[in-house]
């Protein structure tokens, strides 16, 4: 009865129009200064990457060999690279890929992690099995796995979706299936506790079958820890993708991603420091802003905090 301390009296109840609980989440979220700043930065980055190319005249892969290695100028605000490609354009299209990878891989990892966590927590019988499987995936080395996956699936995927999308799916899947384990653990723990909650019992007493019970009562209530790990996951996925590009397991070479740009730029760190710094800063900014958003979300989704 924590909330009973401030029950709305009938009059106040009438004043406030019925509204979605997400508004309350938003109310709490928007007073979290870090989260708000994070959202603004993140939104700016998204706009830069996805709207930028529509207005920016240069193509990310267009080579203008005469104007290579230029510094910052009005024509090329971020300069050009060793082949004379406009770095700003490359940052934009690189960002598209990095962000997309981050978000999709996160979604996948969350889906698997939540799924397995919920199943393990809810059904005692398969709990042990699923948790051992989690151990297995924790122990799997990512690189050989990627190599195997790309050998087995690259061609069918490229055939079905085209080279880039195929590769995208492959990378996203690889990152996704190697990073769901922590989420699964957290979710399982929460479900174990949630399962004993009275509203779950109430649903059972109504005769709700397990499938709907899970979807309606269990999953929505583990969302807040999931949200938090989701934001962290976006960050790690972006960094992992970068590392993969570095190892040559990433996208086709004419397909810039932030990670690849950093790695390409590191050799030139001395002559053209901005070339590695810029994508590095963008990665960090994205990760940072997403982390702050996650922080704010956690506060906003926590009814204990929101209830105040």
């Amino acid at each position: 009865m924590t909330d009973a301390a401030t029950p709305p009296s009938p009059e106040t109840a009438r004043i406030r129009p019925p509204r979605n609980q997400w508004w309350d989440v938003w109310d709490q979220f928007k007073i979290h200064r870090g989260a708000l700043a994070g959202s603004v930065v993140f939104l700016a980055i998204v706009i830069f990457c996805f709207v930028g190319p529509l207005v920016w005249p240069y193509d990310a892969t267009y080579i203008d060999i005469r104007s290579r290695n230029q510094g910052m100028s009005w024509a090329h605000p971020f300069g050009t690279d060793q082949l004379g490609r406009d770095i700003m354009a490359r940052m934009m299209s690189g960002g598209q890929v990095s962000l997309a990878v981050g978000i999709v891989a996160m979604a996948l990892a969350m889906l698997i992690g939540t799924g397995i966590g919920v199943l393990a927590g809810y059904f005692r019988r398969i709990d042990g099995l699923l948790m051992r499987m989690t151990d297995l995936f924790l122990a799997l080395p990512l690189l050989p796995l990627l190599l195997v996956m790309s050998m087995l699936f690259r061609q069918p995927l490229s055939a079905a979706f085209g080279v880039e999308t195929g590769m995208f799916l492959l990378i996203v899947t690889a990152i996704g299936i190697t990073s769901w384990m922590p989420t699964a653990r957290v979710v399982r723990g929460d479900v174990l506790a949630l399962k004993e909650r009275e509203y779950v019992l109430a649903a059972r007493s109504i005769g709700t079958p397990p499938r709907r019970l899970i979807l309606r009562h269990v999953v929505p209530n583990v969302l807040s820890p999931v949200m938090v790990s989701a934001t962290l996951m976006i960050a790690t996925a972006i960094i992992t993708e970068s590392a993969l590009s570095f190892l040559g397991l990433g996208f086709p070479p004419d397909f810039p991603t932030w990670g690849r740009l950093v790695n390409d730029g590191i050799d030139y760190l001395q002559q053209y420091p901005s070339r590695a710094m810029l994508p590095g800063v963008f990665i960090s900014l994205t990760v940072l802003s997403v982390n702050y958003i996650g922080d704010g979300l956690r506060d906003a989704l926590d009814p204990r905090i929101r209830g105040r």
Binding site: A5, P7, S9
Partner: protein, 340 residues
């Protein structure tokens, strides 16, 4: 005050405000009361009426922000606790004033042994040696009726039942022989049989140790059993206050009257239907100028909306904060203010 004895604790016009996003909450609104040596003052009131906040304000136990003490005086002997700094208060807490909280399950730290938690205040306040403190701890546990006390010092709270944990809490509160013991709903979380045990224990301890006790509860039955005086709180204010028999015999505030009527009896005739207090508890601080009980009061009239009643003496140490006179059933004409 009334019978001349010097109160051990004298609270005057205490005001505590929480600042929240939806505005200020006046959780304690000009509360005054006193506590005489060896006396047991019962505090009743529904959930959220400000009982706990009042008591915690006395010792500065509220987190600040959001809590802020806006005014008043709290005289413990001849020091005003509100003027003491954090360091001064610390010397009072546990030493002069013991505190027992509602939920014995969460009030003890689960990762320390009972012995450790019990000896802590002894060593902090009285500077006892480890062995000396342990001896005293054993005595205390025996005092609160825990068998095999010496052995149980090394146990963790989860190894105790709820009733025993509450006994441990009481032992901790009593550790330094405080002048005042504040018990914040110490039996609400317990079974009736265990509650009976604790009540017996407190009666016994009062006789043995003779300290003054403030006992918070929402069970009027408990109050009737052990209190000397009662203070009824509603909406952060004192609604009614008086010696226990007098108050139960002549409840003056509509809220007290209603409360007594809603409770089904364990003996006597069964009522066909329970009386209810319609409506919901108030949101404090929304309408500071009106009487907080107005919305649920059967006797409310226009003055109640305009003016928050102050406490008026109605004789026999009994005072009430209401514009309505329970004796005549009419609005009060002239107010006899309670000097506090």
């Amino acid at each position: 005050m009334h019978d001349g004895a010097v109160p051990v604790l004298d609270v005057r016009n205490l005001k505590t405000v929480f600042s929240t996003r939806s505005g200020e909450v006046h959780a304690v609104n000009s509360v005054s009361f006193d506590l005489r040596p060896g006396e047991l003052l019962g505090v009743v009131g529904e959930s959220g009426s400000g009982k706990s906040v009042t008591m915690m304000s006395l010792l500065g136990l509220l987190p600040s922000p959001p809590a802020e003490i806006r005014g008043g005086e709290v005289w413990l002997g001849d020091t005003d606790l509100l003027t003491l700094g954090e360091d001064g208060l610390r010397k009072v807490r546990g030493r002069e004033v013991g505190f027992v909280f509602q939920d014995p399950m969460t009030s003890l730290n689960p990762v320390f042994t009972v012995g450790f938690q019990l000896t802590e205040p002894l060593r902090t306040h009285l500077g006892m040696s480890k062995t000396r403190a342990r001896e005293r701890a054993v005595e205390l546990l025996e005092l609160v009726g825990i068998p095999d006390a010496r052995r149980r010092l090394g146990d963790y709270p989860h190894q105790f039942s709820g009733g025993m944990r509450q006994r441990v809490m009481i032992a901790i509160a009593l550790a330094c022989d405080p002048k005042v013991l504040i018990a914040d709903e110490p039996t609400t979380a317990l079974d009736v049989t265990i509650q009976a045990q604790i009540l017996e224990l407190v009666k016994e301890l009062r006789q043995k140790l003779g300290m003054a006790i403030i006992w918070i509860t929402h069970d009027l039955g408990v109050i009737a059993g052990i209190a000397d005086r009662v203070m009824v709180m509603y909406g952060g204010q004192v609604a009614e206050h008086g010696p226990v028999r007098e108050l139960f015999a002549n409840p003056a505030h509509p809220y007290t009257r209603a409360l007594l009527q809603t409770m089904p009896k364990i003996h006597g005739a069964r009522d066909a239907k329970l009386r209810v207090i319609e409506g919901q508890p108030p949101v404090m601080g929304r309408h500071p100028e009106s009487c907080p009980f107005m919305a649920r009061c059967a006797h409310a009239f226009d003055r109640c909306a305009r003016e928050n009643p102050t406490r008026r003496d109605i004789g026999a140490g009994h005072d009430v904060a209401c514009h309505w006179d329970h004796r005549t059933g009419e609005p009060v004409q002239d107010l006899a203010e309670v000097a506090s």
